[in-house]
Symmetry: C2
Subunit: 206 residues, 2 copies
């Protein structure tokens, strides 16, 4: 069994990332979401190791100083981040681990985990993005305006990602993601033992 | 419309490359095979520009000296090679151009066309390869032995290719190739205009 992928997915505000990933996950049981660590207190019903890893400030800072956090940020006085350990353990099991992260985080993770696969989900156009935000009907004009302004700033970050997926049709976007995963697993750099295996008549992969 | 890919495909003797490509081409009308140039004389029924570009020795050598041959080799006193011009013209039309080449040629083309996609098709194991060669029932023992020996020398060249596809089941191998083409077209480096297009509300791609 070959090692699973670390897949970093980012999208601008309102980019529809959640819906696409839900569709993709419904097709492939080998995918898991990474679990974040946080120093904030658990809310009722939140389970350690499932919703978050709940850590003390000391524990969290120790992981940072030991280089065991893939990324982290402080928000409203609490730390949030992605511990490397569980991600690596899943990958060793052959699971593809998905990490949803803000648009500036892709380049950061690429430096720490060069073999990660980074994907930026783009709306087909600003007009379509605006239409979608309005179609929700739940947000005030000022909020929509702010989201669009944020998206304009976030979209240029796509240049630091390996792949661009357009969120035009849900099914197509999910299929694009599936093709990226499949192709990445076929890269020679992820199959450097393949030549020896063939020559030595080892078991095949599929 | 985005530019088509140049796809270099190699496989060891008896690797089943032809069958896989036939299956892939039957699924996708956007694919074309590159046409080789040769200095040998046309055989009855062979059409210039379809089976080969039939060139004089002078014409052929001019293309080489001008850097207009992607690769070339001399065989039985005649030159064979792949002219760059028609490949580029097809790619500009959005066609994905396939180039079948011997296993040592992949690295050569990668240097001349860095954005090419190179794929090495491997048999699942030497045992399977041997079984397939024998199943044809058309070749003598000495020929089979020679082919296996050649394959053993050719298979290590896979390390110079971008992707490895295992020729275990025909349908799966063809699907692997299709995923590679799709994923390659989603690379940011092949979509550097996408950010501007989204921000400026240009037409979407799909």
């Amino acid at each position: 069994m070959s090692k699973g992928l670390l897949v970093v997915v980012s999208a601008p505000s309102g980019g529809g990332k959640g819906t696409i990933l839900k569709e993709l996950f419904s097709r492939d049981s080998n995918l898991v979401f990474s679990v974040s660590a946080t120093t904030r207190s658990p809310r009722p019903g939140e389970v350690h190791g499932k919703h978050y890893y709940f850590l003390s400030r000391e524990e969290f800072q120790k992981l940072i100083s030991e280089g065991k956090m893939l990324e982290h940020a402080e928000y409203c006085g609490n730390f949030y981040g992605t511990p490397k350990g569980p991600v690596e353990a899943w990958r060793e099991e052959g699971k593809d681990v998905f990490l949803e992260i803000d648009v500036a985080g892709g380049a950061q993770i690429k430096r720490l985990v060069p073999d990660c696969v980074s994907i930026f989900i783009l709306p087909p156009s600003m007009k379509v993005l605006e239409k979608r935000l309005r179609a929700r009907g739940t947000e005030e004009e000022a909020v929509i305006e702010k989201r669009l302004l944020t998206a304009r700033k976030e979209i240029p970050c796509a240049k630091d990602y390996d792949y661009i997926v357009f969120n035009d049709r849900l099914e197509d976007a999910a299929a694009d993601l599936a093709s990226i995963l499949k192709a990445e697993k076929l890269k020679y750099t992820r199959n450097t033992d393949s030549i020896e295996r063939v020559l030595n008549n080892a078991e095949t992969f599929r």
